[in-house]
């Protein structure tokens, strides 16, 4: 018996007892007809069962009341007994009605309770357990829920006492959204839910609840996964609703967009976010907010990914980012959300800019002619790619001289005196300066070669708001190294040119001496660079036996050849001066060359002029034979001897040459006959032809020069030297 029933029974019995007490006290037998009111109260309040119990007692008391009223058997007694019986019947009817209403109410409560399932966030298992808990023990003795199709079911939950005879249990299919998802098995309890109609409604509700629980669980899982994926994504992701407000952002987005946290980012209006940065496009134009991909997508425009260079106004930190935006549409095609993926491409972009700057600077420096002009070019490359201002300094005495300056479109006022230029020059270490009132940041880097600091490179940022970082220090150092190499090369080149010119001059006589009865003409054309010292030499000097003219050619070029050239010239000069015998000079030079042991070779043609006489002695050591120009024709004279440096011993027999006034003797090096032209090599024949009409030493040289220019034109591989002498 339920509490409600016990209460109703108590009410009924108390009321009945009250009437009995009144009856006894007043002795009024008429009251006994009212005993049934107690049963009616019990029925109305507690239902059929208390009404029936009270009714039985009422009828017994009504019968018994005849005894104490002494009215047994009279007509009034029977009438009152009838009233009591009728009242009891009424009470039973009221009780049944009450029971039906209560049952209906409980079913409603059950349905309502099932409808509230699943609880938010509940799992499928949790929801199944909740359902059986609702049913047992209140509505059923036993309840079980199985999942899956009939025949392949898995019991998800059961509660209560399993019936011994399965036939007493009712199985109801659970269907949701047209799909059979399982079965509910119940055995009917006291407050039974055995009504098949109700069971069908109930199972429908349960099926829906379970389906939702499964679905919501699935959704929760998907959302959790998505969240986890987005959180862990290196790329920043934000989602904007139709008003442009951020409704989602991951940590990467918060960091990239300069927010303290995701929450702070979501709470910040979009316009304020944009305001936190100075944003420019890669070509340097300021950002048009209309061009932001998220905005374009929300406005239904299709848009390309946007690359931006942003500078955080607060920290001065520069970052490059690329934003792609994709719309999320409703089934009807309206844009609901914009999903922005913002990639941080700072490292890539910086590396790209640095590479380009270094490559451009390298190209400029490599093609350098005037290195100050080149350094200016480098400074121009650095602005605005790296900084707003760039200057390059090189030492000039004890001071630094600014040799290049690039200060962009709007020159900021840079206090150069405040930059640690001299410290960096002396220390060789870069210095990064933080913000001062006149600049955002500055960087002074040494320009170093392997050996020394040759200058200083200064960068500064002002109007852009950008702050130079350690990455810029590395770039500036590298740029400095390249500039330094160019500066050093230019310096070395100048030095080398000076040395080469000086050395070359020392190998040739400053001017040819005046030799009585003779006139001279000479030509010397070094091949290649000014820094390269040639191997040709000539000289005219006096010996005890008269004047001697020498033409020599050392095999090879450059400093090694130059030292041989000097040795050749001075050995011949000294030997000639001391002993007056040119062939002894040649032997001496041959020994000197052999002593070097590195196959140093030299060819020499030597003419010993007999003063006042009409003859000359010619000696050749592996050298092209001299030409004698006489009467409009030229032919070779002299005898071939071995070149110097090739063999230990040699013999250089002189050839005697009778001379007539007007005769011209021409000495030359193989650079003349080896001169390359369109038709091959200049050769001996062309030389003889060219020089044949010569009327003086000067004229012979000029004719050879002109013929060579006409034939060869361009630059030659070898030095060219000509020494002509005419007997007056």
């Amino acid at each position: 018996m339920t509490q409600e029933e016990r209460r109703a029974l108590a009410y009924g019995l108390v009321m009945t007892a009250g009437f009995v007490a009144l009856d006894l006290a007043l002795g009024n037998a008429a009251i006994s007809g009212s005993y049934a009111l107690g049963a009616v109260v019990a029925g109305v309040v507690g239902g059929f069962r208390p009404a029936a119990l009270v009714g039985v007692i009422v009828l017994v008391l009504a019968v018994a009341s005849g005894a104490w009223n002494a009215v047994f058997g009279d007509s009034g007694y029977w009438a009152r007994l009838f009233v009591a019986a009728a009242g009891t019947l009424l009470a039973l009817g009221a009780g049944r009605l009450h029971d039906q209403v209560a049952a209906q109410l409980r079913r409603q409560q059950l349905l309502a309770a099932v409808a509230d399932l699943p609880e938010p966030g509940a799992t499928l298992e949790g929801t199944v357990a909740s359902v059986v808990d609702l049913l047992v023990p209140r509505y059923a003795r036993f309840a079980a829920i199985d999942a899956g199709l009939a025949g392949e079911q898995v019991r998800l939950a059961a509660r209560g006492t399993q019936p011994v005879d399965p036939a007493t249990a009712t199985e109801t299919r659970l269907r949701a959204r047209g799909r059979d998802i399982g079965a509910l098995t119940t055995t009917v309890g006291r407050d039974g839910i055995g009504d098949p109609e109700f069971l069908r409604v109930l199972s429908g509700r349960i099926a829906l609840a379970l389906d939702n629980a499964g679905l919501s669980q699935q959704l929760v899982t998907v959302e959790q996964r998505l969240q986890a994926i987005l959180e862990n994504l290196g790329e920043a992701v934000t989602v904007q609703d139709r008003t442009g407000r951020l409704v989602f952002a991951n940590h990467a987005a918060a960091e990239l967009l300069g927010a303290e946290s995701v929450e702070e980012l979501l709470a910040t209006p979009p316009a304020e976010l944009v305001e936190r940065f100075v944003s420019v496009t890669p070509d340097g134009r300021p950002l048009d907010p209309q061009a932001l991909p998220g905005r374009a997508v929300l406005e239904g425009r299709s848009v390309e990914p946007l690359t931006l260079r942003t500078i955080n106004k607060l920290t001065g930190e520069e970052r490059w980012r690329i934003t792609k935006s994709t719309p999320v549409r409703s089934p009807s095609g309206d844009v609901l959300l914009a999903v922005n993926v913002i990639e941080d491409i700072t490292e890539t972009k910086r590396a790209e800019l640095a590479q380009r700057l270094l490559a451009d600077a390298g190209a400029a420096l490599a093609s350098a002619v005037d290195f100050e002009q080149t350094l200016q070019h480098v400074a121009d490359l650095a602005v605005p790619a790296v900084a707003d201002w760039c200057a390059i300094y090189t030492p000039s005495g004890t001071l630094l001289e600014r040799v290049a300056l690039a200060d962009g479109a709007a020159p900021p006022a840079i206090a150069e005196d405040a930059l640690p230029l001299l410290d960096v020059l002396r220390g060789g270490k870069p210095e990064l300066l933080s913000a001062r009132d006149w600049l955002e940041s500055a960087l002074v880097a040494p320009m170093t070669t392997a050996e020394r600091v040759v200058g200083v490179l200064a960068l500064a940022t002002t109007t852009s708001g950008r702050r130079l970082s350690d990455a810029d220090v590395d770039l500036a150092l590298e740029l400095g190294r390249r500039c330094a190499t160019a500066i050093e090369n230019a310096r070395l080149y100048n030095q080398l040119e000076h040395v080469a010119t000086t050395l070359q001059h020392s190998l040739l006589p400053p001017r040819l001496p005046d030799v009585p009865g003779w006139s001279f003409g000479s030509l010397y054309m070094p091949a290649g660079e000014e820094t390269d010292v040639g191997g040709d030499f000539y000289d005219v000097f006096q010996t005890a036996a008269g004047w001697t003219a020498v033409m020599g050619d050392v095999v090879g070029r450059g400093p090694a050849a130059a030292s041989l050239t000097a040795m050749g010239r001075y050995t011949l000069r000294t030997a000639g001066a001391l002993v007056g015998a040119p062939t002894l000079g040649l032997a001496r030079l041959n020994e000197n060359l052999r002593e070097r042991g590195d196959l140093a070779l030299c060819t020499v043609a030597l003419v010993q002029l007999k003063e006042g006489g009409h003859e000359a002695n010619l000696v050749c050591a592996g050298h092209p034979l001299p030409l004698l120009v006489r009467g409009g024709s030229a032919h070779q004279v002299g005898r071939i001897g071995p070149l110097l440096g090739a063999f230990e011993h040699g013999h250089w027999p002189p050839a005697q040459l009778e001379l007539l006034p007007g005769d011209v003797i021409v000495l030359y090096t193989d650079g003349v006959i080896d001169a390359r032209g369109a038709d091959g090599r200049f050769g001996e024949e062309r030389l003889q032809e060219a020089v044949a009409p010569a009327e003086s030493a000067r004229d012979a040289v000029d004719r050879i020069r002109r013929a060579l220019a006409e034939f060869a034109g361009g630059e030659q591989d070898d030095d060219t030297a000509v020494l002509a002498m005419q007997k007056l």
Binding site: D553, V555, G556, R557, L599, L601, T603, C620, A621, G622, H623, P624, L625, I640, G641, P642, L643, A646, F647, G650, D670, D674, R676, G680, R681, G683, G714, E715, D717, D718
Partner: protein
């Protein structure tokens, strides 16, 4: 214009004889290529033949290399033969006074006494 536009060098082997055949112009710019080829190919104890028949021009740096080869061969007691080149090439040997002193032959197969 450094060196002839068309210069190349091939090497052949016939028994224990390395045959070096430069083609084109031998000057400061190309002589190192002959030197490199010989250094790469010349094996211990091999005699060597320098065939100059396909050489159109040679300057004193070529001459110097021939002398270098001659020195190396005589130091190693090996035989060097130089196959005579065209007139322009032989002229360089003549003028330098080296013609009588270098082991010239007319045919690569020709042995020296």
């Amino acid at each position: 214009m450094a060196g002839g536009p068309d210069f190349d060098i091939t090497t052949e082997r016939s028994g224990a004889i390395l045959i070096v055949i430069p083609r084109g112009e031998i000057d400061l710019a190309t002589v190192d290529r002959i030197r490199a080829a010989v250094d790469r190919e010349w094996q211990e104890g091999e005699d060597i033949v320098l065939d100059l028949r396909a050489v159109g021009f040679m300057d004193t740096s070529g001459l110097r290399y021939v002398l270098e080869l001659n020195d190396r061969a005589s130091r190693g007691a090996l035989e060097l033969r130089i196959v005579r080149g065209p007139r322009a090439v032989q002229r360089v040997f003549e003028v330098s006074g080296l013609e009588p002193r270098l082991p010239f032959v007319d045919d690569p197969a020709q042995r020296l006494e």
